[in-house]
Symmetry: C2
Subunit: 661 residues, 2 copies
């Protein structure tokens, strides 16, 4: 008799292996962290002596479920804001709350809360994508679950990083720290093609390849993304990402709702795995992913809940059921994705999608012991037909509830027995989560009528580059055109002439930022206005620092078209005060040493009638790039335009009416 | 202090009334079968003294959920056959099993099993549509649930009736027996427009109006139904049903997946309620109902699980969640059907759809005490945000599980306390259901390779009228044309000339029925074959009786196009023996006294070379109509064609080769 730690006997064992075996009075033998044997109970009982024998009569033993795409800490934001337009939900609620609350402690608690829910629902492995991923990983390991933990990188400032360079550096440290952990696989997660520059996508792929870790990315969650990609890059999203070499990494692409046949072919060719998120895609009204086409073309498929803020739970039984149902109704094909395949998506195929097919996803000797035991007796799953061997998959997919899961083991360790969690304190988690909800409620209540919220409600808002470089100086009557033209390192690429009528809305609480309503009158060669554009710019309070005498601003800037009259916005925003700045602006887009800058030559019309200024400006998502451009901007002012240092000013135009109220 | 029986205190009370009140530390007072008061706990505690005070702290008290469309006994067929083509599922599995097993006992047990599952999941009221509805009603009353019990009427023979006349008579008795019961509302359920003749639909509506009971009907579940209706009636389905006056009754229309704008308008104008069945519509690949349009047009909406054979559970939390999700994703509109409205569909709107809005669907003084108490503490629903009063609806719809329901009361009586059923014995139900499943498995196993199954697998099968009237006689050399033309009561509407080559496949077990492969060669005026049609006809064993010397056959007849060679079918069906009958047929479609008959004048080519026969035939779904036509057919033979009684024969052609093997 060979010694093992645990022998599960008497249940229906569904190993979900290639052969799709089924042992009706089956057994699984576990030693240490691994599965030693799977087969008929009689055989295993004769071969193995176990410290613990678990009677699974009336139950099903199968691999733990794999949640292929989620954002663990977001369980703390569950039901915080639902049934809203996507931009209102994201810009008005999720992002401000995340900016305010997402800390290592938040990520730790949210991850533990999600682990508790997942274990209770039979999930043993997940792929996460969030911030402070080292804390997500630590909490996951503490809970005893297996996780692929993806550190988010994107061009916007994130709760855990001022710039993407910081995120990339963090990711590298995170990978080095966690690689080789028995439960955790660190991963790089460039957030999405539309939130990443080409450089970010390439840097993430390089990092994933250097350390041989999985890369996770959101792809084509919305129609908007498809349209924007074509407009901006003249490429389909998947083409662009493929062309950048991202798919050289072991890639898991979440959502893929709006991939067309061409893009499905590319995903298949590069062996990219897709995480299908039917609940979230429906709830956020993103659409219905072409799962039938992906199945037919042989794309590696898995299924995930997405975060609890857009689901609102982490129930993989519901998720695989919805996956199985939705594709049938959407394609009028009742035989596509039968229950057996839906369960494969949530087990073996899921583990393969996470690049963990060698150790998880099925019950096979040598794989880690990640398994669940499901009760067959509840009346919502009675009776049982045994004639057709596939009907047990039907029972699991179409009628089993998360609450039917009795025991859960990960890496050979029991995490739940008889529905009692063994590694987590539910009451403590609930209390801590309640405390967060209370604080978030207070924060959001204080924001009612908040400026950004009001802007979001108007629609059409988009976020601009977060770093602005700016040097500014008093100027004389001579236009800088001659100096620009004369300099060998300058190439003028565009020229405009405007009159700009700006109205700034200022608020009592400076933390609320400010809104600028700008009317740009385009002036033709004869000095006549020929066109007008109005738009709103919202800026959050500025983090400002000097760099080599240039000013480097970092702040969130949001721009929206202003299609209503100024009077409307005046009443709508109810600002404490306003500031009017009118000026005549000559603007050149120039390349200086090949880098794009804007040069403004402004003649004030109000309030400082007749004053003239020169500005050199640039924008970027990259902190490193910002510092590089700041140095160049200084060169332009001193070397190209020969403006003496004492003429520099560091105020913005809005400061000119600082004494207006 | 006023005396009441039960006072529920301390929970969040959501009455789901018009005002959408919310009492955070609320209470509900119950006396007898009714709600006496709903309000703040403090107020009710001061006013009422209760025999039983139930502490609902940390819980939500709300109206019991309303399952607006289901087939209760079908829980006994759960997971019997899934992921199949609709015709295979229906004709190959559901209908044969129902024909074999559906008895009063089956309906009783299946109803009790469904009641147990529904109570455990917080459903207190349902609308059922099945057979032996008196037994469904009795079992429902025994379980203590409230039900609108709809007796099915259709043109096909049903498990509980040989003809629709029997069903109508049964329905009348059923209504008279159960009308006024405190828990049961009897109802008439013409199955669907495509399974009912105009007469059936009208008779059902008349019955519903006569007794003022609700009428239930399936409408436009599939695209096929829309196409067929146009082809057959040159009317859209809802137009046809409206024109027949069906909507004069209080109508609840299930599915309505393929209603267009015109039909939605008609439903609204007639105040027809719609039961939305998202899971079933997806699982059977019927499609996605236009819920957004129906909401916008003000159609009364409710939600139901459909039967457990196509769901596979009766979980109204899942169903309302899917309703809320699906419409968003399908219309790219994230704000349509917010959680609050989804919950209304499953409570107050549901009760209104069942014409029970006066007594159920919300917690209001005077209404029946049908309520549920739901635990808010499970981690899959933590934390709770309280800032937005609507987030509690989000919690209930997007994250609550059926297993969170703690207590259920119907009509003032507790049916479940702390998740223990008080009126039903779960173990006994499970055991009895298991026994049925075992017997059904054996039945279906024995049918493997069954003739009907094989036909279903070929595709294109449809069922013909179940009553055939037939009189037949030996005839002389003279064609009946002259006699037909001469008679004043006969109008000839069509004439054909065929040569018919029939091959009958006969099986050992006569219960398996028989299959005829027929080649019809159409002959032109010059005696030349100009066209050929091949088709299969499957007939089940015939119930035959004489009526006024005509033969009245009642049996199931299925017809399918035969697009493969005879040799294929010969190998495919593996019949015990075959019988070949060839004949030359002159056929007239005549109106005799305004009623359609077929007159065949057949000259045998094989086996009884040269013999001649005359047949008078008619078909109908109605037993009464069959008897009426049988009498007329006799008249035609004797009065019009003057054929003496002694020339009559009662055999069918296939019997001519009775000695073939």
């Amino acid at each position: 008799m060979e010694k093992v730690d645990t022998l599960l006997v008497g249940g229906v064992v569904l190993p979900m292996n290639e052969a799709m075996d089924r042992f009706d009075n089956g057994a699984v033998a576990v030693r240490g962290d691994s599965i030693v044997a799977v087969g008929p109970a009689e055989t295993l009982r004769q071969r193995y002596e176990a410290d613990e024998v678990v009677d699974c009569t009336g139950q099903i033993v199968l691999p733990g479920l794999v949640n292929a795409h989620t954002h663990m800490p977001m369980s703390l934001l569950r039901a915080m804001a639902d049934d809203l337009r996507l931009d209102v939900w994201l810009l008005g609620y999720m992002m401000p709350t995340e900016r305010e609350f997402v800390t290592p402690e938040f990520c730790r608690l949210g991850t533990l809360l999600s682990c508790a829910e997942m274990i209770r629902g039979g999930t043993t492995l997940f792929a996460d994508m969030y911030y402070y991923e080292a804390d997500v990983a630590a909490a996951t390991a503490e809970a005893g679950m297996r996780g692929v933990c993806g550190q988010t990188v994107m061009k916007f400032p994130a709760p855990d990083a001022e710039s993407y360079e910081e995120s990339l550096a963090y990711t590298r440290r995170f990978i080095e720290e966690w690689k080789g952990h028995p439960l955790i696989v660190p991963s790089v997660a460039p957030h999405a093609p539309y939130t990443c520059t080409d450089e970010i996508l390439q840097a993430c792929a390089d990092l994933a390849i250097e350390y041989d870790v999985p890369l996770q990315i959101h792809i084509l969650e919305t129609r908007q993304e498809a349209e924007d990609s074509w407009a901006e890059f003249e490429k389909k999203v998947v083409e662009r990402v493929a062309d950048l070499g991202v798919f050289r990494a072991k890639t898991l692409a979440a959502h893929c709702v709006h991939v067309d046949a061409d893009q499905i072919r590319i995903l298949r060719e590069h062996n990219v795995a897709v995480a299908h998120n039917p609940t979230s895609n429906l709830k956020l009204a993103s659409g219905i992913a072409p799962i039938k086409e992906m199945l037919e073309r042989g794309v590696k498929l898995s299924v995930g809940t997405d975060g609890a803020a857009s689901n609102n739970d982490l129930d993989m039984f519901e998720e695989m059921r919805l996956a199985a149902l939705l594709v049938k109704g959407a394609t009028y094909d009742p035989v596509v994705l039968p229950a057996k395949e839906a369960l494969l998506m949530a087990t073996r195929w899921g583990a393969e999608a996470l690049s963990l097919g060698d150790i998880a996803g099925s019950l096979e000797p040598g794989k880690r012991a990640d398994l669940i035991v499901v009760d067959r007796s509840p009346l919502h799953n009675a009776p049982h037909f045994e004639r057709n061997p596939d009907s047990i998959y039907s029972q699991l997919v179409y009628a089993t509830h998360a609450s039917d899961v009795q025991h859960v083991m990960v890496n050979g360790r029991w995490l739940m027995r008889d529905r009692v969690l063994l590694t987590l304190d539910e009451d403590a988690l609930r209390a801590a989560a309640t405390d967060y909800a209370r604080r978030i409620d207070a924060f959001l209540e204080a924001r009612e009528g908040n400026v950004l919220n009001k802007l979001v409600a108007i629609g059409g808002l988009h976020q601009e580059e977060s770093f602005e470089i700016q040097v500014k100086a008093r100027a004389g009557d001579t236009s800088p055109l001659e100096a620009l033209t004369a300099h060998p390192a300058v190439e003028i690429v565009k020229h405009n002439h405007y009159r700009q009528y700006d109205t700034y809305f200022l608020f009592d609480d400076e933390e609320m930022g400010r809104v600028r309503y700008r009317e740009d009158d385009f002036i033709d060669e004869n000095g006549q206005p020929v066109n007008v554009r109005t738009r709103l710019t919202y800026t959050t309070p500025t983090k400002e620092r000097e760099f080599d005498e240039a000013v480097l601003l970092s702040r969130s800037r949001f721009i929206a078209p202003a299609d209503r009259p100024l009077r409307f916005y005046r009443e709508y925003f109810q600002a404490r005060s306003e500031c009017e700045i009118h000026k005549d602006r000559l603007r050149w887009h120039i390349l200086y040493k090949g880098v794009l800058f804007y040069v403004n030559y402004d003649r004030m019309m109000q309030p400082e009638m007749g004053e003239r200024y020169i500005e050199i400006k640039a924008r970027t998502w990259s902190k490193t790039d910002a510092e590089f451009k700041a140095a160049l901007a200084n060169e332009i002012l001193s070397d190209v335009l020969a403006i003496p240092a004492e003429d520099r000013v560091k105020t913005e135009y809005v400061d000119l009416c600082g004494s207006a109220d």
